[in-house]
């Protein structure tokens, strides 16, 4: 290049610049309503990210948005993978601890894989939209999001790359002796035909009581009492690996990471899936310790599948959520029903089943956090109609969907296989890639709608503010300073469960400065101080047990000396505020 004439060099440089930044000269990109079409971190939301792809995108976000996004590994999973938490907020305006926090985690049941996608989409969306969306900007200026996208990283990898069904693995990869015979994971399902899916086995048998479905011959249905069947059903693909006469009785753990949390925990014989004690699993322990170290967390969402639900606790029929709190749950949940067609606001033990030691109960009962768990994906989505046959939709609906929208990509055709125990059988059935999770073209909508619900929820977290301060001279060197403290959000600074159990300290309203002496301090729920509460101990810092949702509290000091500089208020879950006195 050194031999080229200088003009040529300039021309080449200009040309290079043009090539590198076509936008500089091109028209502004057409931006669809919703997300940006020109993100800093390129992303597609119609496929599932494996562990390393999630990890890579989190790193890309940190590089692209250093003032909005931080990434930390809380430790290693059982198999040694980093356990990521990503923190998203405007890091340049005020300390993270002075903002209400919102906690999100995804896919504690690893097979419920889209929980990770919604979490990752949320991280990406918040970063990418900070500049262009006033709503997102306000959220990140005022709040902080803590996202653990993969609660069960090892089993996510197992679901992707080992033979499984849409329902497995629900556990992590830590081995346990499920059948208590002294051997560990010695007899799980086997991918006999090597297609990566654990499907079903059936055997043609003139005396079998099952027959092929009239419209969908891939399905077996019970033969009528007066007709001949033709098939035996033989359960999941597998062998009796350990020679104990049972097929598939001890595979990947039957434990349940969402029965491992420290509220109302009960052991396995009462609560199937529980282990030795709360937080037996390191992944849960890391997440729980993170939450306990961030008492500013006021809202939480734990993404599961399936069935289209906004779930709240309690999971234990003997527990009761505080009445004032349930009204807030209901207000948010009912809004969600409008935002996501086919989803319902439900209570775990009333509408599903009893759960002891579930994560959402721990977050609410022990940490005082208003928590929802969305059960992502609903059979409503197949044809945008209610399917009456439960959370998964009927088999016929799925076969129809497979035929007309997946063009047969959703099922493994039945094929013959020579089984060492059962002889000639057939193997086939639904692939692991859908059923509980959306097919490619529906994934982005699922991510966006659920994120939107969660951002609505996050926007309801408390913000404590000093609305006004009034100073009156009472004569003889005595001043009366009255401050009005408000919270213009739906969620109070302390939920009922929080004030009941002293989970977080009271909100503190203080006078700042020097040269003054507080003679007495009062708080009142009404502005006339007709029945004020006097705080005898340490009245300089007045304690408010809570400021309600869209609530107001009044505090008043009688002060001698010089005028204090300012009033400050500090709430663990509601942030801080300060107003100067003049």
């Amino acid at each position: 290049m050194s031999n080229l004439p200088i003009t040529q060099i300039i021309v080449s440089l200009v040309g290079a610049a043009l090539l590198l930044t076509p936008q500089a000269f091109a028209k502004e990109a057409y931006q669809p309503a919703g997300a940006t079409s020109t993100p800093k971190v390129e992303a597609r939301w119609n496929f599932y990210h494996d562990y390393s792809q999630v990890t890579e995108m989190l790193h890309q976000l940190v590089t692209a948005f250093p003032n909005l996004c931080k990434l930390e590994s809380l430790g290693k999973s059982y198999e040694g993978r980093d356990f990521w938490v990503v923190t998203i907020t405007n890091f340049t305006n005020k300390p993270e601890t002075e903002k209400a926090g919102f906690y999100i985690d995804g896919a504690i049941h690893a097979n419920e894989i889209q929980g990770v996608e919604v979490s990752l989409y949320t991280a990406w969306y918040l970063c990418e939209m900070y500049e262009s969306s006033g709503f997102v900007r306000k959220l990140l200026d005022e709040r902080v999001f803590y996202i653990i996208p993969m609660m069960s990283p090892d089993s996510r990898e197992a679901h992707f790359y080992e033979p499984n069904s849409t329902s497995s693995p629900r556990s992590g990869q830590r081995p346990f002796d499920d059948d208590r015979d002294g051997l560990v994971d010695e007899d799980g399902p086997d991918d006999l035909n090597g297609d990566g899916h654990i499907t079903r086995m059936r055997k043609r048998d003139p005396n079998g009581r099952w027959k092929e479905h009239e419209d969908y011959p891939g399905l077996l249905v019970m033969a009528d009492a007066d007709e001949v069947g033709g098939f035996l059903r033989l359960g999941r693909e597998g062998l009796d690996n350990d020679g104990d006469g049972q097929v598939n009785e001890d595979g990947d753990g039957s434990y349940d990471p969402n029965r491992d949390w420290a509220w109302g925990w009960q052991p396995g014989f009462i609560q199937r899936g529980a282990l030795r004690y709360p937080f037996t699993l390191d992944e849960n322990r890391m997440a729980a310790e993170f939450v306990m170290a961030h008492p500013n967390i006021a809202g939480a969402q734990s993404y599961h599948n399936t069935g289209g639900m906004f779930l709240r606790g309690p999971g234990d029929p003997d527990d009761r959520y505080e009445r004032g709190d349930t009204r807030i749950f209901e207000a948010i949940g009912k809004r969600g029903e409008e935002m996501i067609p086919g989803y319902d606001y439900l209570v775990v033990h009333e509408d599903m089943y009893t759960v002891y030691g579930g994560e959402l109960d721990w977050l609410y009962m022990m940490q005082g956090i208003l928590t929802f768990s969305n059960e992502l994906w609903t059979s409503f989505n197949y044809f945008n109609t209610e399917d009456e046959s439960g959370w998964f939709g009927s088999r016929e609906t799925k076969m129809k969907f497979d035929e007309y929208l997946l063009f047969g990509d959703g099922f493994v055709e039945w094929e013959e296989y020579d089984h060492p125990v059962y002889g000639l059988v057939e193997i086939g059935g639904q692939k692991k890639t859908w059923g509980r999770q959306p097919p490619s073209f529906m994934l982005e909508e699922e991510c966006h709608r659920n994120m939107a619900f969660t951002l609505y929820h996050a926007d309801q977290m408390p913000i404590i503010e000093i609305d006004s301060v009034d100073v009156q001279d009472l004569g003889s060197g005595l001043m009366q300073i009255t401050a009005t403290i408000v919270n213009r959000k739906l969620i109070p600074t302390h939920l009922g469960v929080d004030t009941k159990n002293n989970i977080t300290r009271p909100d503190l309203v203080s006078l700042v400065g020097s040269g003054f002496e507080v003679v007495a301090g009062f708080s009142s729920s009404e502005q006339f101080f007709e029945r004020p509460t006097e705080q005898r101990l340490n009245p300089e810092v007045l304690e408010l047990s809570r400021v309600g949702g869209n609530g107001v509290m009044y505090v008043r000091w009688l002060v001698k000396g010089t005028l204090p500089e300012a009033v400050t208020v500090s709430s663990v879950k509601g942030g801080v505020d300060r107003k100067e006195l003049e």
Binding site: R180, G182, P278
Partner: protein, 607 residues
Amino acid sequence: MAKYSIPFAALFISLCALQPSLAGEPIIPGYLDYAGISAKVKELGQKEWAEQSTLCTTTGGRAVHLLTVGIGDAESKPAIAVVGSVVGSHLLGGELCLRMAEELLADATEGGAAMELLKRNTVYFIPWLNPDASAGFLDSPLWERTVNLTQTDEDGDFRIDEDGYDDLNGDGLITMMRVQDEAGTYRTHPKDSRVMIEAEEKDNETGSWKLFSEGIDNDGDEDFNEDGPGGVDLNRNFPYNYPHYGNAAGRYAASEDVTRAVVDFFYDHNNIAMVYSFSPEDNLMNAWKTKGGDPKGKFYSAVHKDDAAYFAYFSEQYKEIRKENGQDKGAPKSPNGAGSFTKWAYFHYGRWSLTARGWWLTKPEEKKEEKEAKQEVEANDSAKLADAEQPTASEEKPEAKPEEEPEEKLEDVGDRGKDDLAALAWMEEAGLDGFVDWQEVDHPDFPGQLVEVGGFKPYLRLNPPAGMLDGLGQQHYAYLLELGSLLPHLEISAAKVEDLGGGIYRVTVEVSNLGYLPTIPAMGEVTRSHQKLQLALELPPGAELLYGAQRVSLGALAGQGGIQEVTWRIRAKGGGELALRAWAPAVGEATATVNLDTGNFTQGVAK
């Protein structure tokens, strides 16, 4: 009562300066401190059949010691876990635990009872479950420490350890504090003005004292000593019936490293068949009872109905042994511990869980002459204190307190203060200086009011004088041997071969339990935390199994001859010998062979 004023400032010692007492005897001389316990475990660990290890290291840097006593592969034998000092202040437990280990090792010679036990069983000893709490008995000022060193906010005011006890009279002990006040609800006992009792409103009694633990209101919140240093009582931190938000229970069930290390140890040692521990939550004097039927609801609050008779039997056997020094009745009631280790071991872990207080202070009941006679004999010989509290044979009913004594008519206050009076009487009898007489102090929180500090010294009502330890150790060791003899005893008791012709055989094998106890408590079958009893068979070359699996899970076998049968159909052209093995880690192992040609059955032929 001596009343003298002590200048407050001069004698006030803050608990912030937590140091071992430098001067004077420990409160309970002769008990091992942490270093002593560690040295003893190490010494025993060097003996034949013994091995020392560490379960976990505490916040305070102390080891939770484990001493394993077993012959050969310890984990392959059904085991008894002996756990001392489950409650930190119950130092007796650790002392007994080590004495039992020492006796067992000394006794383990051919032909001895200990050898009989060790041939079939392993014994795990954990002398101090909560070393950070137990080590506290040398602290000054001294209080009965049951909590570890985890920082906690006991009073939920979001300040940590801001108002602990204060030693107002400078005696190095935290006792009680009474404040003369018309609004008080306490009064003195008519029989002994040292004893404070609550005034009963219904009897129109009036109190004249307020009663607090010794201290000042350090943080000015008008509560006394509501948030002292530490911590978590591990015996409230186990996951059975865990008291959420409970005092000293920890942040959540099994929040403490030691709790988890202990639970993990037990689950990882599936060979443990029985847990024999020491704790005030005694169930050997107060046998656990059943509520009958199948328990409803989410947890079992009483023992399984099929286990109740065994708990009663354990208790009878124990009382038999404790008769020797008269502690076969009159034991205090057990605290119903939420989150306790002992309950966890039965209700979650599903094994026999037996726990002994080991000793309690009994009110001397002797008639005057006998009492005097005895005192002469024993004088100050503290080594014989065990005998000193032995009631005479004539006293069948210690509860029937004679009222015929021609004393001056004292006001009857019922049972109030009864235990305190008994304790004072016992201490007097035993020559033990266990009570700090009330003495006046100046108190900054009660200007112008009479404030007195006094009361029972810590530790002495829960732990006997050291002179009694050897005797108690022997009794509890004898009971350990007794427990060992009750464990299940597995046998392949019979095998029948039927030649069906054509090289086909029907083989029926019988597995029996000859021990007193069933192979697993009924509760264990419910909790399913044990490894199942299995029977496996090995075929001779050329044979194949037609029906039946090579490895079969058996249900529980009842005690004293419980039997289960398994049948296989085998095709074996050339006949040959089958090898049989029945085993479960917490039950043991039995082997046998049976010959298909001859039907010859031989027990105990190990593969």
